[in-house]
Point group: C2
Chain length 221, copies 2
DNA sequence: TGTAATGTTTACCAACCGGTTAAATTATCA
DNA sequence: TGATAATTTAACCGGTTGGTAAACATTACA
């Protein structure tokens, strides 16, 4: 009895595709804003416009909905880092990585918050993913960055903490959106904040990682 | 009937001080790791080593515990930014702000996660604090930073996004601790990670904000 | 020491929550 | 169209949750 009833039909139907999609969309909305424990099946059902037993016809448990969601989202969430190219120009690569991550924070804030909630609360349901695929990917890209530093193309720095810094600064605009808007105030909280953030962050990281920074000797001022 | 029974005694007793302290300490532990909705009074009671009705003798509702906690923590949480000194040397000020924030992430991760949970879930209970005291303080410090930039002491940049970047990068080590440890791996996840982070972040921000960096040109208006 | 004020516990309640059952309804297709 | 498979709903269940009432225990102090 490990499968929901919908998965035990003779064929996979059109209705199953549609409803499962609908449910995951609603689940994303609810889980992202309330966390796992803070979300109820009833809430998801209401957002999806379906009855609770009907959800449970497609997903056997609340956990199953969450798991399906995580699996679907995790992969696409790592895409920007995968595109990080060892052959490219370091400055260009870092700049476009920042831009892509910032675009994701703008266009898929719920996905970002879904993970943030999960990690913040100790990642009880995604620990494997963190220590497996995520760590492997980061390890791989860290090597690339280290090679760039060794070749003198960027300043010598800890590649892991560089990646953390890019994650933190970009996802901040999704995860802490309410705070960002509150601090910027009504007039500056429009969509333009993402362009401003991009400009600032690109400047920060490009300058910050440039070889032999100007702060090295007595600054020209 | 807005006050808990303990607050309706003739004098404030020693036991009240002690028990309220004990409860808030337990509440911090629980709220920080589970968020508001995900936490139960029973959990807090168990951590505090008291019975549930006993907690409710000191705090009328779960909300009241959370509110008392937020109020107590918010103030100290903003202290590092308050110390930010207009008269000081910009590089020194920024560097020590980063260091202080990083120390707080290391020494008070629960406080950081308490806010992160709250903001992440839309800040329903601290919106006033964000738009009031927090915004005022940031506005004030943003002016200082802008003045430094205008005087040519640091690169021209958006002071709000600079502050966001410092918040994001430092709090990351408290809020996303599980992820940081998972990615760094067992051998590098010791306490040394905070020193590594400090070294990287100081380099990043000091170089990144240095005037007329080597990658000069496209900086913000 | 006695007693009034303070503190703690036991027992309880109504609402909520995750999930099940079985019956009713709708879609599919020979 | 009718039979069968697929879908949906109403009713329900046991456990949990936030919170209360009232009896009981302890402390402070005259």
């Amino acid at each position: 009895m490990a499968l929901p009833r919908a998965a035990r039909t003779q064929r996979r139907t059109r209705i199953q595709e549609e409803k499962e999609e609908l449910i995951l969309e609603a689940a994303l909305e609810v889980f992202a804003t309330n966390g796992f424990r803070g979300s109820t099946i009833d809430q998801i059902a209401e957002v999806a416009g379906m009855s609770k037993p009907n959800l449970l016809y497609y997903f056997r448990t609340k956990e199953a909905m969450h798991l399906a969601l995580i699996e679907r989202v995790l992969d696409s969430w790592l895409d920007p880092l995968r595109e990080f190219d060892a052959e490219g120009n370091p400055v260009t690569e870092i700049r476009s990585y920042i831009r892509r991550k910032l675009e994701m924070a703008r266009d898929f804030p719920r996905e970002s918050r879904l993970f943030a909630n999960e990690v913040l609360q100790g990642a009880p349901r995604i620990e494997d993913a963190l220590m497996g695929p995520l760590k492997s990917l980061v390890d791989e890209k860290a090597k690339v960055i280290r090679a760039w530093a060794k070749a003198g193309k960027i300043a010598k720095c800890d590649p892991y903490h560089l990646i953390f810094a890019i994650w933190a600064t970009t996802q901040h605009y999704a995860d802490f959106d309410v705070q960002v808007r509150a601090v910027l105030g009504k007039d500056r909280a429009g969509e333009g904040r993402f362009e401003d953030a991009a400009r600032f962050l690109e400047h920060l990281f490009v300058n910050g990682l440039a070889v032999g920074g100007p702060a090295a000797g007595g600054s020209s001022a």
